[in-house]
Amino acid sequence: MSLQVISIILGSLTIASALMVILSKHPVRSVIYLVVTFFFITSMYIMMNAQFLAIVNMIVYAGAIMVLFLFVLMLLNLNKEVEPVTNRGAQISALIAGGSLFLVLISALKETLILGQNYRTQDSSIGLVKELGNLLFSKYIVAFEITSILFIAAMVGAILLAKREKQIIE
């Protein structure tokens, strides 16, 4: 019972903070709210006993990526009100589109087979670090190694892109 209440509260808070991400005018606030949203999502992972992902989400997403965002915002000195304005028509059409998307997704949900399944009845050991580690380093080892190449590429790309043009010429 208490879990049910907790999950409802968590869910509403997640949605609320996500809404704040897109509603707040100031980009820095958006980032903060996004970090909050990620916290809530992490807690949901914990509820489903996906411990490894919860930790990764916490560290990588909320910690590293979001800080990167903040960093860039600071770097560009955008923390004042230079936010471009959107016109009303686009907002309304986006709202309608988003709303109908939501409705469609919900109606799709009605057809899913897992309706009413309790997550606690499931085997809860799969989200543990050990289990995932086994899987990662056996079945997905190639993909895992390739991610490192992706990271190098991303790193090189980021450096190259962010460098000033003068420096490229030199």
Binding site: Q4, V5, I6, S7, G11, I15, A18, L19, V21, I22, S30, V31, L34, F38, I41, M44, Y45, M48, N49, A50, F52, L53, V56, N57, I65, L68, V72, L73, L76, P84, Q91, S93, A94, L95, A97, G98, G99, L105, I106, L109, L115, G116, Q117, N118, Q122, S124, I126, G127, E131, L132, L135, L136, A143, T147, A153, A154, M155, A158, I159, R164
Partner: protein, 107 residues
């Protein structure tokens, strides 16, 4: 199981939250013009999908989906770094981060 009981304890609640997050992300991406916020909205949508994957992973009792989420995060991290550096570049050239300024490929 009772419907009242199911809210919150059943897996489809997480699905509901994931859909909501995805929709919010999509609306944000459509309405906001700030490129950084746009990128954030995309991150939000990615996270919604991650949540969905974890939910199904729990349901099926298989870890593969969680591995996939892990890879998604990897890609998201890479994407964020590259995306942000592109934004920096763009800002340097155009002195703006309005996404609608970046339509010069049109012609």
């Amino acid at each position: 199981m009772q419907a009242a009981n199911s809210i919150g304890t059943s897996l489809d609640f997480f699905l509901f939250v994931a859909f909501a997050l995805f929709t919010i992300g999509a609306i944000g991406a459509m309405t906001r013009k700030n490129m950084i916020v746009l990128l954030m909205c995309i991150e939000l949508m990615l996270n919604a999908v991650n949540l969905l994957l974890v939910t199904f992973s729990t349901y099926y009792g298989s870890g593969d989906a969680q591995i996939f989420v892990f890879f998604t995060m990897v890609v998201a991290a890479a994407e964020a770094t590259v995306g942000l550096s592109i934004i920096i570049m763009a800002y340097r050239n155009l002195k703006s981060i309005d996404i609608d300024m970046f339509n010069q490929l049109k012609n």
